[in-house]
């Protein structure tokens, strides 16, 4: 099997840039979100449609990023 329909884009969630990668593999859509500069994984979702996979990845990212505290420097 080969990945198809690969796409990637950067969006903003809770004031943080998020890198969203989506592709289709073996009939399912895989969406992965990471926090760009560190590159740490925030969400990895497999779903039947691109929209469902991306929406769930965005929602999970929002949950995690909303907990990030900014400190005065």
């Amino acid at each position: 099997m080969k990945p198809e329909e690969y796409s990637e884009r950067t969006i903003e969630i809770e004031g943080w840039p998020v890198h969203l990668v989506t592709y289709k593999l073996d009939g399912k859509y895989h969406a992965k979100a990471d926090n760009v500069s560190p590159g740490a994984n925030l969400a990895r979702i497999v779903a039947d449609t691109r929209e469902e996979a991306e929406n769930k990845a965005i929602e999970r990212s929002r949950e995690l990023l909303s907990r990030t505290r900014r400190h005065a420097v």
Binding site: P3, D26, S37, G39, R67, V73
Partner: protein, 288 residues
């Protein structure tokens, strides 16, 4: 790749597609997201989990020599095996695995340039089945080469002496102390900021958009102005030592600097240490 100081430590995705199943080649996936392998991987690849298989799970440390030998043996790796490592996030933890293999003297270990991202974006063949390893004869590791690893006392000495370039490879917000961990991850330190005098060069700046490493000239332009030009020792650090192993790889093998160490204690050690000096905000040197 021929431009780099040690081009032999990199292979392309095309090379892996052609040689990944050769008898003397072992392809290993090491991801930040340890479940990624199960969703699909390079045909024939095995996986190592960074948080259970590439560290001592009792003491905070890298693998001991005995643990490393067992991992290699169980993975079917011999001393003469060509090991190709790749992973997500532009080879973050793949570089961490390579660093440990170099510590224990494996002769031929390389990164797949661009990692998992490039393989997928190119639409290359993948499989979901696990690839059980046939254990090799007992692997004999070399004594650890600690010239590529920095411990806290060495970093403290470097800080005092001022003769070593400290490269902080975390994000700018972690460097300044605005956040205490990468966005979305739990805070793992008591204090934010950076080691005084450190230079901020986020690890990802060494990569192109497709995940491959930037050219030799681009890398020289990135690190040279920060004092990392090969004329002085360099210590790279991040939060737990994995992002900095990526930068260590760039400085050591792509730029060919002799004296480069990865401080794997990193900010989770320094930022929790009683009495350790911390600088907040942008680097004082940069403000001057």
């Amino acid at each position: 790749m021929a431009q780099y100081a040690h081009p032999e430590v990199l292979v392309t995705t095309a090379w892996v597609a052609q040689h990944g199943k050769d008898n003397n080649v072992r392809v290993v996936e090491v991801d930040v997201d340890t479940k990624a392998y199960d969703e699909g991987h390079v045909p024939g690849a095995i996986a190592w989990a960074w948080n259970t298989q590439l560290c001592d799970t009792t003491v905070r440390d890298i693998l001991s020599k005995v643990q490393f030998q067992k991992l290699m043996t169980d993975s079917g790796i011999r001393k003469d095996t060509t090991v190709i490592i790749y992973g997500d996030s532009n080879n973050w933890f793949a570089a961490w695995a390579l660093w440990q293999m170099k510590i224990y003297g494996h002769p031929d270990v390389r990164l797949m340039d661009g990692g998992r991202k490039k393989w997928i974006s190119e639409g290359r063949e993948m499989e979901t089945k696990a690839n059980p390893s046939t254990p090799s004869e007992t692997y004999q590791a070399s004594e650890p080469d600690l010239s590529i690893r920095a411990f806290l006392p060495q970093v403290q000495e470097a800080f005092k002496a001022g003769n070593t370039i400290l490269i902080d490879v975390r994000s700018p917000q972690e460097f300044t102390g605005e956040i205490l961990a990468p966005p979305g991850l739990p805070e793992t330190c008591q204090r934010g900021g950076h080691i005084p005098g450190a230079h901020s060069v986020p690890w990802g700046k060494a990569c192109n958009d497709d995940g491959t490493f930037k050219s030799l000239e681009q890398l020289q332009s990135l690190y040279g102005p920060e004092g990392a030009d090969g004329s002085r020792p360099v210590i790279a650090y991040c939060r737990i030592g994995e992002r900095s192993s990526h930068t260590w790889f760039v400085l050591k093998y792509l730029l060919g600097y002799d004296n480069v160490r990865n401080y794997d204690g990193s900010w989770t050690e320094w930022g929790n240490l009683v009495g350790a000096p911390v600088e907040k905000g942008v680097a004082q040197r940069a403000q001057a």
